[in-house]
């Protein structure tokens, strides 16, 4: 006896086709949920409380620092590609034009990870002395002769901080489609006094 039929097709075949369809529907929904979570995660990760520090130590050395915290409320960890900070003085009237004071760079191979749903405090510091400090003092003295009132702690030190990373293991190797990596990459930038 032939099996039961719905509009001329075997009922078994239709049920199998329905299962096939539902499987792909489940894939689509799961993927769309991941896509939404990643998109929202990318927009929710930020830095908080950036703090610039300039102090003169007891031995006359200038201490420059920068503190901030990376806030990751997302369900994904961040694989850090690079953390870069530098500070400099923009010396518009003299030479060298930029007096680079101190910098810090952390590369991908260090393997820094910001866990899911956690914050990470970052602290950078540099000590300026010797010739470099003499240049800073020269800058301050020259500026003060022209109406400014800078000291070692109030000089206009410019700061640049950049944090780059990937969400979880969503990074891929497709070369042409930059938008895919753009979707899952984190790029936080903080600048102060860079002339922007």
């Amino acid at each position: 006896m032939p099996g039961k039929k719905w509009f001329g097709a075997s009922r078994t075949v239709i049920v199998m086709a329905l299962a096939y369809s539902l499987l792909f529907l489940a894939f689509s929904i799961a993927s769309a949920v991941t896509y939404s979570t990643v998109t929202i995660a990318g927009q929710s990760i930020t830095y908080e409380n950036p703090e610039r520090i300039a102090q003169v130590l007891g031995n006359g050395t200038l201490f420059l620092g920068f503190n901030t915290s990376i806030v990751n409320p997302s369900p994904y960890s961040i694989h850090v590609t690079s953390i870069n900070w530098y500070t400099e003085l923009i010396n518009a009237t003299g030479s060298p034009t930029l007096i680079v004071l101190t910098s810090s760079y952390t590369a991908e191979n260090v393997g820094v990870l910001v866990p899911a749903g956690a914050d990470m405090n970052l602290s950078f510091k540099g000590y300026i002395s010797g010739t470099l400090l003499a240049r800073v003092n020269g800058f301050i003295n020259y500026s003060n002769e022209h109406g400014a009132s800078y000291t070692l702690t109030t000089a206009p030190y410019a700061h640049s901080f950049e944090f780059r990373g990937w969400l979880d293991d969503f990074k891929h190797d497709y070369l042409r489609e930059a938008y895919l990596n753009g979707l899952v990459s984190i790029d936080l930038v903080y600048t102060y006094g860079m002339g922007e």
């Binding site: 006896m1 032939p2 719905w6 509009f7 001329g8 097709a9 075997s10 075949v13 239709i14 086709a17 329905l18 096939y20 369809s21 539902l22 792909f24 529907l25 894939f27 689509s28 929904i29 799961a30 993927s31 769309a32 991941t34 896509y35 939404s36 990643v38 998109t39 929202i40 927009q43 969503f170 990074k171 891929h172 497709y174 489609e177 938008y179 895919l180 990596n181 979707l183 899952v184």
Partner: protein
Amino acid sequence: MAVEREDLYGFVTSALICATPVAYLTFEFMLPNVSFPNFGKNLLITMLVSVLTGVPAGLMNKRTSMGIASVLVYSLVGYLVAFVFYMVPFVAYGASLTIPGLYYAAFLRFTIILMFLFIFGGIIGVVGGQYLRESTGREETKLMWGDERKE
């Protein structure tokens, strides 16, 4: 020959059932790194799944013309469903778009070529499905009315 109600039921059912693989394949081709399973933008897999997706449309449609029309409809429906999934973070969750026009245009630019595969593969699948349908029908007739049955 007039189109019967049964033909319409088969057409509509196949057009709906077969749309979800097209939706997933399109979405996965646009965003492979956040999709599961990840076919890695593989066009051969896309073609094979397209052929497989056309088979139910062939099995459910008595007429070849309606089977092919079903392929066109489910390809379009699936493509639109994929676009809806693509908009989910921005429409349902309020995520912000950086470059709105370009972002949606990119979907069309990257995925429209797949329509060729869906339709071409789907028609091949429909032909295969109809062959199966006829073959099954012949076998059933033989089992019911053939010599073995009589004895």
